[in-house]
């Protein structure tokens, strides 16, 4: 009978990696049907259930719920149908139908997920059969709403690499050439006294005293003062980030803030400091009503203000919702392109990218910039991190990208907990918004336009997004550094980068070609922006799920073939030291496996 083979890859970013690590660590695993459970994972309930696959008919099987995941396997057909869903991706669990509902499979559960899919299960109507599973799911999917801990705190996973060490702020600033005569490191926020959502280590203008900083803080929303994000080694222009000034209805001014921005401008002798306000102009004006606003012309004479027209978190949330409507469970087939346009998802991507391009362009032409939105933790993080990705090839390496995320997103207090709603049952929370997903999408668009410029591949981006929700790692938990510190995240949880860095080969883009000084300017045009189908439309079984792009796969095969040949040649050379080997003497490094080295062989004089 027709069944729904959920391709293994569907759930594999989470599943595969766990089993691989398990075998390496050779930890004792209690098998959970096919999937090895994680150390620290405990089974809570098993139940006979019917999975109502949206792509086919109902599938009978068994569901197991642990404190980490929901695992389903069918029992009614030889074609395997499995689901492997970390509870963290669940945003909503509902009962569907009642005890008196008529019709088959009308009584059960409906699960809405954060990763572009929904799941429906049906149970027998007799004897409140769903009560226990509903309660367990509700409890374990939303542990924080039930006074329980997130799985990241229960996990016992061990990795060779400690991902918590990938980012050392001082080391990163040193890499950028800081501190120097224009910029200094300050520890004023050591105890989060200046700003509770900023990290402890900040880089500020050399000429600004700590007292200046305190006074500027009073004029910036949530005390998020302008601080340095990135420093251009050649022209000394900087990207600084902050929140909106507290101008208010009355149009307040603050001499210290004005002077502070002028110090930033003056640090490399920029004639005009460019302030990029990520918001649409009207939104910036509207913010005056709640005490916020933007830098007026009169007050900031040596600055020019540019609005980047990027919409707020609510608009983005609605946009993604519309996108989900047209891709799940089925792709809208008639007038697909118009439907896609009406979600505005790509248009938002375009605005974010073109904002970042403007920032990068300004900085590479030697002008310092200030970037802010309202609070400086959503659109600001997108803009600074994307422009840094364009300007600095280091961030395009596997390690550098981790540093970028740790610094601009995690360190500077993107409110992951609020935006994702980890372990929280309040699915309709207005604070939730796919800002980080949107950023990753922008990165993906860049990798598509420049296939050789990034050391990491698409898979890394997908895995990052999967664990953004999974709650298996501590990386994306909590809203800011101070909260992470008080909850001892670095001690009690494992970093996502531990997983990634323990097997980097999975995430390496074979086409990567380092080009240290190149600034990447993607073309932020609808002509080139594409829907990331391998992420947004990955649950549809009608789509072939390829572990990696066919081109990437083929390239790796060819690399292997090349190495095989090299090895063979070397063997032949050893066994045959007659004159014929003389013209091969130079090609005796058969294990040059990295693509970067293979050219040396081409240099061999024949």
């Amino acid at each position: 009978m027709a069944s729904a083979p959920i391709a293994p890859y569907n759930s594999s970013p989470l599943g595969i990696s766990s089993s691989q690590n398990a075998s390496r660590e050779s930890l004792k695993m209690e098998p959970l049907a096919d999937v090895a459970v994680l150390p620290g994972e405990e089974r809570v309930i098993d139940k006979e259930i019917i999975y109502i696959c949206p792509f086919n008919s109902a599938v009978k099987g068994k569901v197991s719920i642990t404190n980490y995941r929901l695992y389903f396997k069918n029992t009614d057909s030889e074609t395997p149908v499995t689901l492997n869903v970390p509870l963290g991706v669940i945003s909503r669990v509902e009962k569907m139908g009642g005890a008196s509902s008529r019709g088959e499979n009308s009584y059960g559960l409906e699960i809405t997920c954060k990763d572009m899919r929904n799941l429906r299960f049906a149970l027998k109507q007799e004897g409140h059969s769903r009560r226990d599973i509903f309660e367990i799911l509700f409890k374990y999917a939303f542990p924080l709403s039930h006074g329980m801990q997130l799985f990241a705190f229960l996990s016992q996973e061990k990795y060779e690499e400690n991902g918590w060490n990938v980012y050392e702020p001082l080391e990163e600033y040193r890499r950028q050439g800081l501190p120097n005569s224009e910029w200094r490191v300050t520890f004023i926020n050591k105890n989060y006294e200046l700003c509770d959502t900023y990290p402890t280590i900040l880089v500020v203008p050399y000429k600004a005293t700590d007292e200046d900083l305190r006074r500027v803080a009073t004029f910036r929303s949530r005390c998020r003062i302008p601080v340095l994000s990135w420093f251009h080694k050649e022209n000394h222009a900087v990207i600084t980030r902050c929140s909106q000034p507290l101008v208010g209805m009355s149009g307040k001014r603050n001499k210290d803030d004005e002077r502070y921005l002028d110090i930033i401008r003056d640090a490399n002798g920029t004639i005009k400091l460019t302030i990029y306000d990520a918001r649409p102009n009207v939104n910036a004006v509207a913010n005056k009503a709640t005490g916020g606003g933007y830098e007026g012309d009169d007050a900031y004479q040596n600055a020019e203000l540019v609005f980047l027209d990027i919409h707020n978190i609510h608009v983005m949330r609605e946009s993604l919702k519309k996108l989900k409507d047209i891709v799940y469970p089925n792709v809208e087939e008639s007038h697909w392109l118009s439907s896609l346009e009406s979600t505005h998802w790509l248009e938002h991507i375009k605005l974010v990218l073109s904002g970042a391009i403007q920032v990068a362009d300004k900085v590479s032409s030697g002008n310092s910039v200030v970037v802010h939105c309202s609070d400086g933790w959503d659109r600001t993080a997108q803009l600074t991190s994307l422009s840094m990705l364009m300007l600095d090839s280091y961030y395009r390496t596997l390690g550098g990208f981790q540093v970028l995320l740790e610094k601009e997103w995690i360190g500077f207090g993107h409110k992951f907990a609020s935006r994702i709603g980890h372990g929280d049952k309040n699915h309709a929370d207005q604070d939730r918004s796919p800002i980080f997903l949107q950023f990753i999408d922008c990165v993906w668009q860049m990798t598509k336009q420049f296939p050789t410029a990034f050391e990491f591949n698409e898979r890394l981006l997908v895995v990052i997004l999967d664990h953004l929700y999974s709650c298996r790692f501590g990386t994306f938990l909590y809203n800011c550094e101070s909260a992470r510190e008080s909850n001892n995240v670095r001690v009690k949880t494992v970093s996502l980068w531990s997983l990634i860095n323990s097997d980097t080969s999975l995430y390496i883009n074979p086409f990567y070609t380092p080009e240290s000084s190149r600034v990447l300017y993607p073309v932020a045009s609808m002509r080139h922006l594409e829907l990331w189908v391998t992420y947004y439309i990955r649950w549809n079984p009608r789509i072939q799920h390829q572990q990696q792009s066919p081109v990437e796969q083929r390239y790796k095969e060819l690399l292997a073939l090349r190495d095989q040949y090299l090895k063979k040649l070397e063997e032949l050379q050893l066994s045959d030291s007659t004159p014929s080997s003389t013209h091969l003497t130079n090609s005796s490094a058969p294990n040059a496996a990295t693509p970067n080295q293979h050219i040396t062989h081409l240099q061999t004089p024949f």
């Binding site: 088959e104 296939p451 002509r527």
Partner: protein, 765 residues
Amino acid sequence: MFSGKQTKPTFKSYLPPLQTDSKKSPQLPIKKLEAKLLPGEIVVNEANFVKKCISTESCQDGLWGKLVCTNFKVSFIPHNSLPLQRFQCTHRLLGEHDISLACVEQVVTVNDVKGKQKILGSNQKLKFNPTELILYCKDFRIIRFRFDEAGPESAKKVCLAIAHYSHPADPQLLFGFEYVGKRYHGSTDETVNGIDPGGGLQTPLFDCSSDWDREIKRTGASEWRVCTINQGYFISPSLPEFFVVPVSLADQDLKQYACCFYSQRIPLWCWNHSSGSALVRMSNISDPLQQRKVEQRISSAIIKSHPLRSDVFKSDLDKNLPNIQDIQTALLKLRQICVIEPFEESEEKWLSSLDSSRWMEYVRTFLKHAVDVVYMLESRHVSVILIEKEDRDLSCVISCLVQLMCDPHCRSLHGFQGLIQKEWVMAGHRFLDRCNHLKKSDKEESPLFLLFLDCVWQLWNQYPAAFEFTEVYLTVLGDSMWVPVFSTFLFNCPRQRAEHSRDFASSKSIHLGQDQALRFPSVWDWSQQFSLKDQTLFNNPLYVGKIATCVQNGTVKTFTHRRSKKNYSSTMRGLPSAMRNGSLGPNDTLTRRNSLMLRLRSDLSQVREQQETPSERFIRDWFSRPVDLQGLLLPQLLPSHLSVWKLYFLRWVPEAQIPQGGPITAFHKLSLLTEEIEMLQNQLRQYNGAGCTPNNPHTEHSKMYFKATSTPHQSLVPPEYLSSSFPFSPMGNLCRPGILGTPLSKFLNGAKIWLSTETLANETI
């Protein structure tokens, strides 16, 4: 014949133009600017001190030079060439600034002082002196010339000449005839123009019975035979002289049936599936009285030719696919949004405009229909007859796509070229009319071949490693339609070619000698257009077919995939699957579930309720298995998984160019690696004594365009000249009518006129 029309420029100024802007003043060395002429090519008219606009925003930047109109091309010879763009592959027939007249879609003259504009046709008058000439090209380029410094009379004359010569009144006025005719004019050189049709080509042209015999053998179609009744084109005017029919049909029967078919087109065999099912194409039966009888006779003959005596499935293409006018309208809309509308302004509505052009929808419809046919052949094991009124348009696309999906041979370069010979050229696709080379009837113009190339590109894009060629190849092939020297794209059918070349020969007193007809070069003779080095851009470094090698015990083994003839009884096992469907469980569960559906909230209402059809099931089953690149290939048909063919449609758009980016950068790295592997293979061969190749592994016969250079680190980095448009350059090739100088609305208006080609008439605005 052209000599009568040749006019001498009446005004020639050797003085440099007035220097209006010191910064941009042209430096004019006194040097002779001559157009490079091909054999048979003559200069018709020319104008000096013409400026070619090279950037979109304004016509401030430009190249100064001479504009020449010949009987083949519009040529622009710059005084100072642009900074050397070493990446551009040089076309052997057309220079960097040349446009073949066949490629010119519309000639628009403008006088921006008087605010006048006129679209020029053949033999027309122009009441104003043009200050500007805009050439809209069939390949999506828009080229602008300014005449500010040229003599007003000579500007006018050259414009009129271009308009006139781009509207040839007769096929024999197409340049190819003069070009090829030169060969016979007492030239001592044996290979004038290097024309070598057929000879030396590995691509079968299917113009002789042996090519068909080989194809029958290759596909194992033992119950089919080559039929020669149309030799001399006595039976059907549009069929080739040789084609393939069921063995059970005698020549006598065929002659009898012929008159029942539209244009006497007897059903043509295209290809055999390994299961023995045949793909056949056929025109409508014009005689309604005979229809049933003839259809039955044909069907039973096809059934007899099937080893399993399987049934025949008839696929009515006219009913299921857009017609040629729909496709033409779609392309014009696509062109409008790709190159005519201002870039920034059209960004917001790009996706919905693309949608409303319907081009992507048509691409999908054709692919989908081909998949349906593949399902019948592959899973139901029946023969399929493609039926189209004339059997000369839609059938060409569908039969090719089916073979590309089923038959890995067709994905090799020569296999693909043979396929086009077989299903387009020989089957009588009206290239002359569909390309509208004579600009006679816009109703007949339709970009079917381009649509086909786009469908192939979609397959290529989804399975790049399955094809021997690259997207550059597909793009260049599309462009070759507008170089009117290839027999491939000049005629409506083989007979027309024979007749025209005979007539031309006799009118020019050319002695054909042994040749039956003028020997036009075939487009497959790529050396006509490109150097060997540039042709390597066609080679796909990903292609598995050729590089499927492995090392075994020190010997290099190359696996050539041979079409395995499957055992019929084993493929029979597939049969019941179709029957198994429909009667079983899922149907019941689904209908009963409907009651539940009604109560579900909106986001679940999309759940597919209808039962999967057998062909959907076949597709899903195929997608659940790993892809065999040497086997059946099915495209992903979800609209979300089809893309715009950017290299073709956006290559001229400067704003859309990704400098040092695009898929070509990965392709570059792949080429280097493939190159290295080939070299290692050679070395290994030498070791194994099989070293028939001399000691030069790094010969210039390398198959890859990109090679590692002597500076290792530079060669790793994608060369600076790579861009998403590579090997084409938007520089100077897309100059939309600017907003400067003239009101924007006027130009948009002009663009609209250009769109509705019926109104291509003479009104002056």
